[in-house]
Symmetry: C2
Subunit: 577 residues, 2 copies
């Protein structure tokens, strides 16, 4: 039996709903304890992680270059609440009084960040419990990702936390970052602060060290992509992607959420969140290939699941599927800025290069969008700005007008003509930056486009420093700006697909999943591992999904007897114990 | 009748050879005069364009910001030969003596660059002829791209040049640039020099203002992609992509050639060049879509042709097809640096981020490459460097070793282990730049990889300035470096396809195309325009390609009679004159 992809929304929902109620794709097998989610409402629980009035750093050290030192340095960069280093070996660290144990801290502590070696974490958690700390981020590694012993250690931590009423974030993670607030609850390298931060209105959730300084620095300093919050959730033994996503979907600083995940542990919950989300969600899922899935198992102890089934379902719920890190962030930013796309996305292309205009047409059509057919009055208006010989048509090659009348006249003339054309939905503007003062009117362009209900998107190339300033300016104006034509058109196409999907009827009902008693019985009898075909089929059968008859038999005689009973033809498969 | 794509190499060649001999795809209809290619051998003809001992700039002006001023500024930046501004209105420009006409220049002139308005170009060419100048680059616009009048002007120029024995480059182009020599025979904005140049060993041919300063600046300053030569060929009324490609394929400074083209005017010649080329050729073809093809017609007066047929044929000849500008350049650089790919491309991934390692596996498999299965001895060696709990497998996550033993030990240990593994063909190294001194051994890594016959490719992200320095260092070491995972793997996949294609038997024979007399008759009778279906079918018929019977008839009675003669069923189509 193999999975089929369903071509229509309704048939997919019909066929998958029973599966969904059951599976929490991809790893029903881990059957994570649901109890952790009961004792505190998720929203209020998450809020304190992001806005603690006081933080204890358990495992802080003065040793430069150590993770326990970097956390403290990062916290001191922008966090203005009360800060308590905890380490029995020091009286003070970085001029702050240091405490031998959390219990010795005077006054309440909202959040503890733990960076002691893995074996010492259970005791640190117990101490947090005694102190009344109810939020802990464990950034130390050495848990489930390292094998059975680490998993046992992780389970011990979870038991301690549950008993003490502690919500746990991590372990094996980089914590969280809030760029507008300058909060760095993380051990990432403090060099991250050196190039300055770029605030934005998109947040990300990553199940990886990808939130390490490298990726954030690349986004902010190299690509001028602004960030709101970045959350690294690691092994997610308690707090998972759904908890953080739910928080971010309500967060006022966040207009869209990007997620890099190696597993989705509560499939139905995730799907429900996506389904009712009023903000764009972009997902990059690692471990879709055989080799990738194997690596994900050892990286964050994640089971990757069936990628095509997940992608299809999540797409229907309005999730945009990404395939690379920076692409994910550019798509997310574009979706955050392009609030609504018109149904037809008839695109006008304003370029400085005939070649770039032509290629843009190719890419626009290739991505299923349309090249706008300008109205007669627009063409007439363009003709008045442009040299006589230049055909006033889309793509609008501004170079000849530019050479004849200067950059401002060319840009303004072309933009003014096109933005009011009722046959145009999207204006795709090209800029070559660092040669002429050609971008002083970006904010005005954006305002005009908004007023006319048109989407504005930019492709900008040019001289390095000027380009970065230009990209920041564009972002500040709320205009998506991209460094490659293909990427710009790809992001536009994602936006074009997003609006109708969000306007479509919701994918799933809100009723709670219910397992049949037969399914419950099978689930409770099976060990916690990846199931084989036989067990999986038995479970599917309980949901009414047709499967072939199968029997496991121990002898030739029994096999012959069973075959006679089933009726021929039969297939015989060898099993290794 | 519609074109079919052929699935096997031999059937494609068999079926297309007659077409090929005929068509010079895509625009046989323009039937460009072949005579221009006879009077000088192409190689020696091209050489002087790239290495003139003296240059006259016809249309030089002292007016800052004018094209005639910028050409002179650019020439003075690095060109050390004799330089003659020509303009009757000035005695000197930029401290150089200025001549009222080329005939007044003392001594010989190898090359003239013309930037006077289009209507004045014929006289400028005639003057060049009188002076004995045999190479002219016309950078002025206002020719075939503007319509019938401009086309007539262009033809007049061509006639003058042919009579005088002049080879023409352009018009409507940006000329040429040689980065290692610092030659800028172009009116592009002189700001291009401000960020410094990055030399490389890849050259490009563009049929567009894409060679404008914007794209070159983006490549060199923003992306740290080094360039050898950049050639903008515009309307290519004489010198075309084949002339320049042929020169670059022999050029010692060029290891690979990228082309952005809106048409290929001598299809068979281009295919032959590609087929026997010993260097990688990467082609980005503009005008593949309906809207793009229409725009190409007005941009450089190009007929776009059948994209799928072209792509298929050219791929078989070893040409790599690109889809965007920067992607084209990154692919070209990767192909230039990866001289030979092993048949299996079993890839080892060395990463600082588990997530990036997993995604790399996904992308490697998705692109049809293989994730290497490390040998037992390599795993053992890795285990000795890495913490006990970390499974020593591919992808190799270096972060834990890094945290425990420092960057140098992690990188060196992992690289040493993997590079000698006989089960590994490619090493895909990840770097987060700007935090630790982690790249001082790049050159050594490259030497080791070369010694072991392994391919090395890099993904690097991080802090802006450090990243740029790192990318330049990698490029200087001959290692392809990319800023996005997908792009790196995509380039690797292009390299993996390139080697076997170049090793396959040649695609086409070297015999000259021969037209049947019937085809000659049709060709000479037809006007120079896009042919309709009727004329096209008649021509195809002369090559033995089966087409349906057709007749154009002027009355109902004649139509009925013809239908009776043909036999039913028939289809009637209306024609508009």
């Amino acid at each position: 039996m193999s999975y089929q992809l369903f071509s229509s929304r309704s048939s997919l929902v019909t066929h998958c709903s029973s599966l969904l109620e059951l599976t929490d794709f991809p790893n029903v097998v881990s059957r994570r304890p649901q109890a952790t989610h009961n004792f505190l409402s998720e929203r209020s629980s998450m809020k304190t992680f992001f806005n603690p009035a006081s933080i204890a750093v358990i495992g802080a050290t003065p040793r430069e270059g150590s993770l326990g030192s970097q956390i403290l340095t990062n916290l001191r960069y922008g966090y203005t609440g009360r800060l308590y280093p905890v380490n029995p070996n020091y009286a003070d660290i970085q001029t702050l009084p240091c405490y031998p144990a959390v219990e010795k801290i005077p006054g309440p502590v909202d959040l503890a960040i733990v960076i002691v070696p893995a074996p010492a974490v259970p005791e640190a958690l117990a101490a947090c419990g005694r102190k009344g700390i109810r939020r802990v981020i464990i950034e130390s590694a050495g848990f489930a990702e390292t094998g059975p012993e680490g998993r046992a250690l992780q389970n011990r931590c979870l038991a301690i936390a549950r008993k003490a009423g502690i919500r746990l974030w991590g372990p094996n993670c980089m914590g969280l970052v809030d760029i507008p607030k300058k909060f760095f609850f993380t051990f990432m390298h403090p060099n991250i602060h050196k190039d300055g931060l770029i605030e934005g209105r998109i947040s990300m959730v990553v199940q990886s060290g990808m939130l390490s300084a490298g990726f954030l620095a690349d986004l902010m300093s190299e690509r001028a992509v602004g960030i709101a919050k970045a959350c690294s959730i690691g092994n997610k033994m308690d707090i998972d992607e759904c908890d953080v996503l739910e928080y971010l979907l309500e967060d006022e600083q966040t207009d869209a959420v990007a997620l890099y995940l190696e597993s989705i542990v509560r499939g139905r919950k995730f799907l429900e969140l996506a389904d009712r989300a009023k903000k764009p969600i972009v997902l990059l899922k690692g471990g879709k290939s055989t080799a990738g899935a194997k690596a994900a198992l050892s990286h964050t102890s994640s089971l990757a699941g069936n990628a095509r089934l997940q992608d299809s379902l999540l797409s229907l719920a309005g999730v945009t599927i990404a395939q690379d890190f920076q692409q994910m962030m550019e798509i997310t930013r574009a979706l955050a800025m392009i609030k609504q796309t018109p149904p037809r996305c008839r695109t006008a292309i304003l370029t400085f290069s005939g070649g770039a205009g032509i290629l843009s047409c190719d890419l626009v059509e290739q991505q299923g969008l349309r090249v706008a057919d300008l109205s007669a009055s627009t063409k007439k208006e363009l003709a008045s700005v442009f040299p006589d010989w230049l055909p006033a048509s889309n793509p609008v090659d501004m170079f000849p007008a530019f050479a004849a009348r200067g950059a401002a006249a060319a840009y303004n003339g072309a933009f003014n003509a096109v933005v009011r054309d009722p046959r145009v939905d999207v204006i795709f503007l090209h800029f070559f930056v660092g040669f002429y003062p050609n971008y002083d009117r970006l904010r005005l362009f954006k305002e005009m486009a908004d007023r006319e209900g048109k989407v504005l998107i930019l492709w900008a190339i040019g001289r390095r420093d000027a380009l970065r300033a230009f990209k920041q300016e564009a972002q500040d104006c709320g205009i998506p700006v991209h460094g490659e034509l293909f990427r710009a058109v790809e992001c536009l196409a994602c936006a074009a697909r997003y609006t109708p999907r969000k306007n479509a009827p919701k994918l799933i009902s809100t009723r709670k999943p219910k397992l049949t008693s037969a399914a419950e019985k099978i689930l409770s009898a099976l060990p916690e591992r990846i199931w084989d075909e036989y067990d999986s089929k038995n479970l599917l059968k309980t949901c009414g999904i047709p499967v072939v008859q199968e029997k496991i038999l121990g002898s030739v005689a029994a096999a012959v007897a069973a075959a006679r009973q089933m009726g021929f033809p039969v297939v015989l498969k060898g099993l290794v114990k």
